[in-house]
Symmetry: C2
Subunit: 491 residues, 2 copies
C-alpha cells in the first residue's frame, strides 16, 4: 500500500492551505452532529518518524471543541500499562458516545516496537488480534479512521538532519524508545504488509503523502470529514450496521442434572474446606510470586449460592491480593462505551485475584432474555467474549468459569426459605420471581452460552449446586486445579 | 495515646467471638442504611506490623455486601502514583455517596515509610496536610473512622518468629519496603505523637489492643458500628454538619478597569505572538526535561476570550505534552464524590501541561451565584481550594491563574457580534444573557475569590481583556514568566 502513494504527489501550483480552510470551518459543525447522534469516533494517526504526526494532530484539534475530543500521545507504556494485556491501555480510552479519541500513534507502532526482532511472530498472531479489537469497536457503531503519513527515506533523512540543529525537536527524538533512523528500509515491507492486512472495509487505511505539510493537512481533513459525513448520513437514514456473521444457535447442548457428585455432612465439609482453603492460600502466594493474575467467574441461577461460595473461598485468601467485583447493570458512564469496557477496567493486576459475581456473560443471559440489547448485540457477543478471553489468556492469566446449576425445584425451596428468614428477606425481590417464570428461556440461553464459549483456553466448569456444601467444595477444587495446571506449565 | 492501651487488656473469661456475632449480623443492615442516606465512609486500619491488619480487614469485609465497599491495600506506590502529589492516590479513591472505602494501611504508614530518617520534617509540614485532607472529607459529609491496632514489642517479636516458619506469611513480610523488626522502639514515640496530633473531633483515633484476635475483631466492629449509627441518626435528625470556620467576605477588593496596558496593531501582535510562542515551546521542553508539571487556569467573564487565548497558546506547543480540560457541570459520577475529586483526576503528569478552561473556582463563582451548592459549601471552598493548590505547589508544579477581565459594555458588543455571525451564533445562549443580568453578583464573587485565594504560591494574574490582542500577549508573558521563575529556582 505504500509503494504507489509517493507517486501521487501534490502539484506545486495548488494552495492547499486555501483548500483546507473551508474544511477546518466545517469540522466544528460535524463535531456537533456527531455529538447529537452519539457516534463514538477514533482517529489514529500513524506514520514514519519525522513524518509530522504531532504537527498534524495539533492542526486537527485546533478547530475541534475541546469538550468533545481527547488526544492520546502513545509512547512507551507506563509500568501499570506494560503489565496488563496489550490492548488494555487502548480499550480503556475508547471514546464515549459522541466523543472523539485521537491517537498520536497507536497500537500499530507499539506492536512493531514492542516486538522488535520478532516481526514474523507479529504476523502470525497479532494481526488477528488487531482486527478483533477494531471490529468490536465498529460493530458497536463506532467510526474508526486510520491514517498513515508517508514520506520517502530521503525526505526522512533530511528531516532528521534539520531536527538535529533544533534543540526542541532533537530532545524528543533522542528520548523515544527505538531507533527510527535505521528503520526505514528494514521496516518498509513489514509496515506495507501490516497496512495491507488490516485494511478492512469498516476500518480502511488512508495513506497520505506527508512531504508537503499543507497538502497532508488538507488530505487529513478531507479524509476525516468524508468518513464522518457518510457515518452521519447512514445513521440518519437508519442504515443497519451489520457486518459480523453471528453464530448458529441451538446447538443441542443440554445442562446435566444438578445432583451432587458427593454428599458431605457438615463435619466432612468443614474439614475438607479447611484443607482446601489452606492450599488456596499457598497458591495465592505462588500466583503473587509468579505475577500470574487469576480471574474467577461465577454465573448461575438466582439463589444458586454464588455469593455463599465466594464468601467461603475468600475467607482463606489474603485480602491484599483479591477483590470481589459484583456485576449489576452498567452505570451511566459505562453505558456510553462498548460493552466490555467495564470489564477491561476491572481486570486484576499481575499476581492478583479478581472474583466476578456475575460477569460479561450477562450480555448473553439477562440482556438477551430481557431484551435489554438488540439481537445483533447479543448474537455477536459470543465472538466478542471469546476474543476478549483470548486476550486475557494470551496475557498469561488463569481463567476459571463457573455455572452453578440447581434444579427448578431447589430454587423454589431456596426462594421460600429466604422469604421466611427476616435477615435474608431483602435478598429476594419480585424480579427474582419474574426471572423464575422465564426459566426455560434462560435455560436455552445458558445452553447456547456454554456450547459457544467453552473454549480450550477458557472452559466452563458446571457445578452441581443442589447441595451447597458439595457445590462449594467443587468450586474450591476447580480453582486449585486450574492454578496448579498453570504453575506446572511454567516449570 | 499508645501508652495506656495495652493496660486495658481483655479478660480471658469473656468469649469475644460471641460478643462480635450480633455485630457482624448488624453491619449488613447498617450498610444498607448508609447507602440509603448516601453517606460516604472511609475506614482506615493502621497498626504495627504483625498486628493483624489484613486478618482484621478480611473479617470486616466478610459481612459486607461487596457492591458497597472497596478494600484498598496500601503499599509502595506504583510509578504513576509516586510521581504525583502525595494525597493524589488517596484522593482518587475516596468513596462515592453511600459507599465504604476500607484502607489496609493508609497515608499514615506511607508518610512514615516515605520520609524515613526525616521524622522531624514530617511533623513540621505533614501533620497539617493530613488534617486538611481529612477535614475536607468530613466537611463534605463523609465519615472517617481511624483504627490503630496495637501490640507490644514482645508480642511483635513473637509473631515475627512464628511467621518465619510459615511460608505464606514470611513471603509477604520479606517483600515490604521497610524493616519493621527494628522499628518498634524507634517509632513508638513518633507514632504516639502522630496519633495524638491527628486525633481530631471529626476523625478521632481508636487505638485497639490486638494481641487477642477475637477481642480486636469485636472492638473493630463495635467502633465501626457506633460511629456509623451516630452518623445515621445525625443525618436522619438533620443535624447540620458545620465545623469549619468560614472566612469573612467583602474584603473591599475591587477589580481594576480592563484597559489594555498596550495597544497592538495586527502586525505587531503577530510578530510578538510568534516570538513568545517560540519561547513557550522551548520552555515546554525544559519542563519536560525537569519533570515539572504546569497547570494554567483560565477564568473570566463570558465572552472574555478564554477559548481564543487558549487556542493561540497551544498552537505553539507540542500536543504530546499538553491537554486542554474544559470544565462544565460535574457529571453523575463526579457529583457522588467531593468537589475537588474531578480536578485531582485531571492533574498533569510531571513534565506535562494541563490548561483548564474554567476551573475549580466554579464553586465560588457560578455555583455560589446560581445557588447550585449550599452557602456552607462555597464559603468553605476558599479554604479547600487554597489547601488543594498548596498540595500542588508542594509537589513542585507551576500554577498560573488568569482572570480575564472585560468591561460590561465590551461584553455586550461581543455578545451582539457573536449573534450576528452564523458560525459563532451557537456559542451564545439564553444562559449567557441571564448571567449577564447578574453581573454585579458575579463581580462581588470575583472580588471575594481574588482576595481570598491570592496566595504567595499561587497568585492571580488579572488580564485586561478589552483588547483581545493585548490580552493574549499578557497571558503568554505571564506563563513564560512563571515557568522561567520556577526553572531559575532550580538552578
Amino acid at each position: 500500500m505504500l509503494d504507489d502513494v509517493l507517486m501521487k504527489y501534490p502539484d506545486e501550483e495548488t494552495d492547499y492551505r486555501e483548500l483546507a480552510d473551508p474544511l477546518q470551518a466545517e469540522i466544528g459543525h460535524i463535531q456537533r452532529e456527531i455529538l447529537d447522534l452519539k457516534i463514538p469516533v477514533m482517529i489514529i494517526i500513524e506514520g514514519w518518524d519525522a513524518s509530522g504526526i504531532s504537527n498534524i494532530c495539533n492542526r486537527l484539534i485546533r478547530y475541534l471543541d475541546p469538550r468533545g475530543y481527547r488526544l492520546y500521545p502513545v509512547g512507551r507504556p507506563k509500568q501499570a500499562e506494560a503489565e496488563m494485556p496489550f490492548f488494555w491501555r487502548f480499550a480503556l480510552v475508547t471514546p464515549e458516545e459522541g466523543k472523539f479519541a485521537i491517537f498520536d500513534r497507536a497500537w500499530y507502532s507499539r506492536l512493531i516496537v514492542e516486538n522488535k526482532g520478532n516481526i514474523k511472530d507479529i504476523f502470525q498472531r497479532k494481526i488477528e488480534d488487531i482486527k478483533s479489537f477494531e471490529h468490536q469497536f465498529s460493530d458497536d457503531g463506532g467510526i474508526l479512521i486510520k491514517i498513515f503519513l508517508h514520506i520517502s527515506h530521503k525526505e526522512q533523512k533530511k528531516r532528521f538532519k534539520e531536527a538535529d540543529s533544533d534543540p526542541c525537536r532533537s530532545y524528543y527524538l533522542k528520548n523515544i524508545d527505538w531507533n527510527p533512523k535505521k528503520e526505514y528500509p528494514e521496516y518498509f515491507s513489514v509496515i506495507d504488509e501490516i497496512l495491507f492486512r488490516t485494511n478492512t472495509p469498516k476500518a480502511p487505511w488512508e495513506v497520505i503523502p506527508s512531504e508537503n505539510y499543507e497538502y497532508a493537512v488538507y488530505r487529513v481533513y478531507d479524509t476525516v470529514i468524508n468518513r464522518l459525513k457518510s457515518a452521519i448520513s447512514e445513521k440518519r437514514e437508519g442504515v443497519e450496521n451489520i457486518c459480523y456473521e453471528c453464530p448458529l444457535l441451538s446447538s443441542g447442548y443440554c445442562l446435566p442434572e444438578p445432583h451432587a457428585p458427593m454428599i458431605l455432612d457438615r463435619k466432612e465439609y468443614k474439614s475438607k474446606k479447611k484443607e482446601l482453603g489452606k492450599r488456596l492460600l499457598e497458591l495465592q502466594v505462588e500466583l503473587y510470586k509468579n505475577k500470574i493474575p487469576l480471574v474467577v467467574l461465577y454465573e448461575g441461577w438466582d439463589a444458586s449460592g454464588k455469593g455463599g461460595a465466594i464468601t467461603r473461598l475468600t475467607r482463606y485468601l489474603n485480602p491484599r491480593g483479591y477483590r470481589i467485583e459484583p456485576i449489576g447493570p452498567p452505570d451511566v458512564k459505562e453505558k456510553e462505551r462498548g460493552y466490555l469496557w467495564r470489564f477491561y477496567n476491572r481486570l486484576p493486576r499481575p499476581g492478583r485475584i479478581v472474583i466476578f459475581d456475575r460477569t460479561w456473560y450477562g450480555r448473553v443471559l439477562v440482556e438477551r432474555v430481557e431484551g435489554l440489547c438488540s439481537d445483533y448485540d447479543w448474537k455477536r457477543a459470543y465472538g466478542e467474549i471469546t476474543e476478549f478471553e483470548h486476550f486475557i489468556d494470551e496475557w498469561g492469566a488463569v481463567i476459571v468459569k463457573f455455572w452453578i446449576h440447581i434444579s427448578k425445584e431447589e430454587q423454589l425451596n431456596r426462594f421460600r426459605a429466604r422469604e421466611a428468614d427476616p435477615d435474608k428477606k431483602w435478598k429476594i425481590t419480585p424480579e427474582d420471581w419474574r426471572n423464575r417464570e422465564k426459566w426455560d428461556q434462560y435455560e436455552e440461553a445458558v445452553c447456547d452460552m456454554i456450547s459457544l464459549t467453552h473454549t480450550p483456553c477458557c472452559p466452563w466448569t458446571i457445578v452441581s449446586g443442589n447441595d451447597k456444601y458439595s457445590a462449594r467444595i467443587q468450586t474450591f477444587e476447580a480453582v486449585i486445579a486450574a492454578v496448579e495446571k498453570k504453575l506446572k506449565s511454567l516449570e
